[in-house]
């Protein structure tokens, strides 16, 4: 985008009524932002030390119509993907079952804002079993022995 956008004084601000209206809008738009949203942004700094590829949520079974949801013990299945990597997860009461694709041996760690919550090995087929599931929101950091680190989005407990 054009990075030379200049926030020059709006000519309308010379008009008292319009300046008051602009000020009202400016103050209100800052108040609109929930404080939890700002706090979550501040907490993101804790992830600074992790040099990882971000894998974003591409599938969430909770968003599917109820009729086609599985009846099994799987509470929810999620898929995260980045360029070239996919992490498929099944959240069960006892464990987080996952598969990294393409497969690769490595380590997976669940991390919350407070630090590491659980860790497990990733086998040669890319499978891992992480349990018991964390009780606070977390993200998974998958580190493969080939040197790639993949960080998923937030996962609800």
């Amino acid at each position: 985008m054009n990075e030379e956008v200049r926030p020059v004084m709006d000519p309308e601000w010379h008009d008292d009524e319009k300046l008051i209206a602009a000020l009202r809008e400016a103050l209100a738009s800052a108040e609109d932002v929930p404080s939890a949203f700002v706090e979550a942004g501040k907490a993101a700094f804790a992830w600074r030390s992790i040099d990882a590829e971000l894998a974003a949520l591409t599938y969430d079974s909770a968003l599917e119509p109820v009729a086609i949801r599985s009846e099994s013990a799987i509470l929810r299945s999620l898929t995260f993907a980045s360029d070239g990597w996919t992490v498929e997860l099944e959240l069960t009461p006892d464990a987080v079952l996952g598969q990294l694709d393409p497969p690769g041996v490595g380590m997976v760690t669940a991390r919350g804002d407070g630090g590491e919550l659980a860790t497990a090995d990733i086998d040669e087929l890319g499978f891992f079993v992480l349990g018991p599931p964390p009780t606070v929101p977390y993200r998974l950091v998958c580190q493969t022995s080939s040197g790639t680190t993949i960080l998923t989005g937030w996962i609800p407990p």
Binding site: E3, E4, M9, D16, A26, V38, L54, L57
Partner: protein
């Protein structure tokens, strides 16, 4: 855009690991992320999701950010991209209309939001630089509908007849605050004539 010395300083300090500087950056730009998300009518949980991705990408992007002045634009376009990603991932229909036939080009939306955000931030800074008396008076006048003069008179112990002149004086001071005066000086110059 002026190279805002505050933003440059915050970016450098956050890059060096100073948490306070990061917090200030987030406070400063959270309204921008939020307003772009609102523009795409995302729900609160989706806005939270987009926010997380944007801040993480920013944490990652800080070391490579050569021109801190470009930060607002980067934040707006990154937020847009995350909004599209989420809309694609969660909607059952392909958001073809959204992506391929926008009435307003995406870049124009980002620029508009950046400009609105920068103007808003400047007005908020300017307002915070006013005397308490002026802040109180303007706050009452900004209410919708504005507080009646007799109520303002009672609450601020000002004669009704002096409210009008005080209002004009406070607005003049607002225009003269460093935040706004800088803009006026920075406005269309002789080269633009």
């Amino acid at each position: 855009m002026r190279d805002d010395p505050t933003v440059v300083d915050l970016v450098i300090r956050a890059r060096d690991g100073e948490k306070n500087a990061w917090d200030e950056l987030v406070e400063r730009y959270a309204p921008l992320v939020y307003s772009v998300c609102r523009r795409y009518r995302l729900t609160q949980p989706d806005i939270d999701d987009v926010g997380q991705s944007v801040w993480l990408r920013l944490v990652e992007h800080l070391p490579g950010l050569r021109e801190p002045a470009a930060l607002p634009g980067w934040i707006a376009t990154t937020t847009q991209r995350e909004c599209f990603r989420l809309i694609r991932a969660t909607s059952r229909v392909e958001p073809v209309d959204l992506l391929q036939s926008p009435d307003i080009p995406e870049q124009a939306i980002a620029e508009e939001e950046v400009l609105r955000h920068e103007r808003g931030a400047i007005l908020r800074t300017a307002f915070s630089e006013l005397s308490r008396k002026c802040q109180q008076l303007l706050s009452l006048l900004m209410q919708d509908p504005p507080a009646p003069y007799d109520e303002i008179s009672r609450r601020l112990s000002l004669p009704v007849g002096s409210i009008g002149p005080n209002r004009a004086r406070c607005l003049t001071r607002l225009r003269q605050t460093p935040a706004l005066a800088l803009l006026a000086a920075d406005g269309p110059g002789p080269n633009d004539e």
